[in-house]
C-alpha cells in the first residue's frame, strides 16, 4: 500500500516474525521424521515458502515498499516459477507413457 510507504515495522513485529520462523523450522524438522509418503516434500516446501514470504514481506520491508518494487519482485518470482514448473512438467511426466 502506498500509504504505508513511510511507516516502519516495530521490534515487536520483528520478534513475532522470528517466532513464526523458529516454529516453522522446528515443524519442518519434526515432520521430516513422520512418514507422509509423497506429501513429505510438499509439506517441507510449503513451510519453506511460508518462511521465505515472511522474511521477504517483513524483514525485507516489501510489505511497506512502493508498488514499482512490489511489481518488479513479483515479476522476478513469476519468471522463476516459469523456469521450475516448465522444466519439471517435462521431467515429471516422462514416465507417464510406456516406453
Amino acid at each position: 500500500m502506498s500509504d504505508q510507504s513511510h511507516s516502519h515495522p516495530t521490534p515487536g513485529l520483528y520478534l513475532l516474525i522470528l517466532g513464526a520462523l523458529v516454529v516453522g523450522t522446528c515443524l519442518t524438522w519434526g515432520i521430516a521424521f513422520i512418514d507422509l509418503g509423497r506429501w513429505n516434500p510438499v509439506v517441507a516446501l510449503t513451510i519453506a515458502v511460508v518462511k521465505a514470504v515472511l522474511v521477504i514481506l517483513f524483514f525485507m520491508h516489501v510489505h511497506y515498499s512502493s508498488k514499482l518494487t512490489k511489481l518488479t519482485i513479483s515479476a522476478g518470482f513469476f519468471w522463476l516459477m516459469i523456469m521450475i514448473t516448465m522444466s519439471l512438467s517435462d521431467y515429471l511426466t516422462r514416465t507417464f507413457l510406456p516406453q
Binding site: 516502519h8 515495522p9 516495530t10 521490534p11 520483528y14 520478534l15 516474525i17 522470528l18 520462523l21 523458529v22 523450522t25 519442518t28 524438522w29 521430516a32 521424521f33 513422520i34 512418514d35 507422509l36 513429505n40 516434500p41 517441507a44 516446501l45 513451510i47 519453506a48 518462511k51 521465505a52 522474511v55 521477504i56 517483513f58 524483514f59 525485507m60 520491508h61 515498499s65 512502493s66 514499482l68 518494487t69 518488479t72 519482485i73 522476478g76 518470482f77 519468471w79 522463476l80 523456469m83 521450475i84 522444466s87 519439471l88 521431467y91 515429471l92
Partner: protein
C-alpha cells in the same frame, strides 16, 4: 552568491542545487526519499538475478533428485540433520538481528546499531563454522565427489574411512538393516553409490555458493560496522544498512530452501 556564479549553468531549481542538503544525497536525486527508493529498487533487481542463479541450481537439483532418487536418499541421510537444523536457527536469528539493526538506524540508536551488527556477524561466523565442521565430516567419510579428487584425498591420507571414495555409502545401501524390504544386488548398490556423487556435487556446489555469499555478507557487514561506528547512519540516512540487510535476508532465504531440500529427503526411514 559566488558559488552560483561559478556554475557554468544552473541545471535546475531543485533542492540539490539551491539549498543545503544531506551530505549523503547524490546530485542526481531530488530528495533522500527518492534516493533510497532508487537504491532499494536497484538492490532488488540485483537480488532477482541472484534468485535466478540459485533458481537454476535448484531446478537442476530437483530434476536429478527425481532421476536418481535412491542415491539422493543415501546421500541426504549421510549428512547431519541436527547440524543443518541448528544452522537454520542460527541464520534465522541473524536475520532478526539484521532487521533490528535497520530499526536501530531508523530510530537513531547508534550504539544499538553497532552491537546488533556485531551480533549478526557473530551468528554469521557461527554458521560458517558449523558448515566447515560439516564439510570436514564429509571429507573424513570420503564423500567428496569426483573419482580423481576422491583418490587424491585418499592418497593424501585425508579421509579415514576404510573403503575407497563413497565405499561406505555402498556398504550402507547393501546393508539389509537399512533397506530391509528392497532387494539390492551388488551391482546396483555400487551403481547407486556412484550416483550419490551427483548428490554430493549439488550439495557442495549449492552450500558452497551459499557459504561464499555468507563470506561476502560478512565483508559487507564489516564495512557497515565501520561506517555505523563513525555515526554515519541515522533516521535521515540509513540506505546502506537497509541494502546490506536485504542482501543478508536473501542469503537467509536461500538457506531456508536448501535445508529441507538437501537435508530432509526421506528422513522418516533412516532417522538422524
Amino acid at each position: 552568491m559566488p558559488t552560483e556564479k561559478m556554475r557554468r549553468s544552473p541545471l535546475s531549481t531543485s533542492q540539490t542545487t539551491t539549498t543545503d542538503h544531506h551530505p549523503a544525497l547524490a546530485h542526481q536525486f531530488d530528495s533522500m526519499e527518492q534516493q533510497q527508493e532508487a537504491s532499494t529498487f536497484g538492490m532488488w533487481v540485483f537480488l532477482l538475478t541472484e534468485i535466478m542463479m540459485f533458481g537454476g541450481l535448484f531446478t537442476a537439483y530437483l530434476i536429478y533428485r527425481l532421476k536418481y532418487y535412491p542415491a539422493f536418499v543415501a546421500g541426504s541421510t549421510s549428512i547431519s540433520v541436527s547440524w543443518g537444523f541448528a544452522n537454520t536457527l542460527v541464520l534465522i536469528v541473524s536475520s532478526f538481528t539484521m532487521a533490528m539493526t535497520v530499526w536501530a538506524a531508523q530510530n537513531g540508536k547508534r550504539k544499538a546499531q553497532v552491537w546488533l551488527l556485531i551480533a549478526t556477524m557473530i551468528l554469521g561466523a557461527a554458521f560458517l563454522g558449523v558448515k566447515a565442521k560439516e564439510y570436514y565430516d564429509k571429507w573424513d567419510e570420503c564423500h567428496i565427489p569426483g573419482h580423481v579428487i576422491g583418490k587424491g584425498f585418499n592418497a593424501w591420507g585425508g579421509c579415514s574411512a576404510t573403503n575407497k571414495s563413497l565405499g561406505n555409502i555402498a556398504e550402507e545401501i547393501r546393508d539389509p538393516k537399512e533397506h530391509g524390504n528392497v532387494n539390492v544386488t551388488e551391482v546396483s548398490a555400487e551403481q547407486t553409490a556412484k550416483q550419490t556423487e551427483i548428490f554430493f556435487s549439488f550439495y557442495f556446489l549449492m552450500t558452497g555458493l551459499h557459504a561464499f555469499h555468507m563470506v561476502i555478507g560478512l565483508g559487507l557487514l564489516t564495512w557497515l560496522l565501520l561506517r555505523a561506528k563513525s555515526g554515519e547512519f541515522g533516521p535521515a540516512y540509513y540506505t546502506p544498512i537497509e541494502l546490506g540487510g536485504l542482501y543478508w535476508h536473501f542469503v537467509d532465504i536461500v538457506w531456508i530452501f536448501l535445508f529441507p531440500l538437501l537435508y530432509l529427503i526421506s528422513r522418516h526411514q533412516h532417522g538422524v
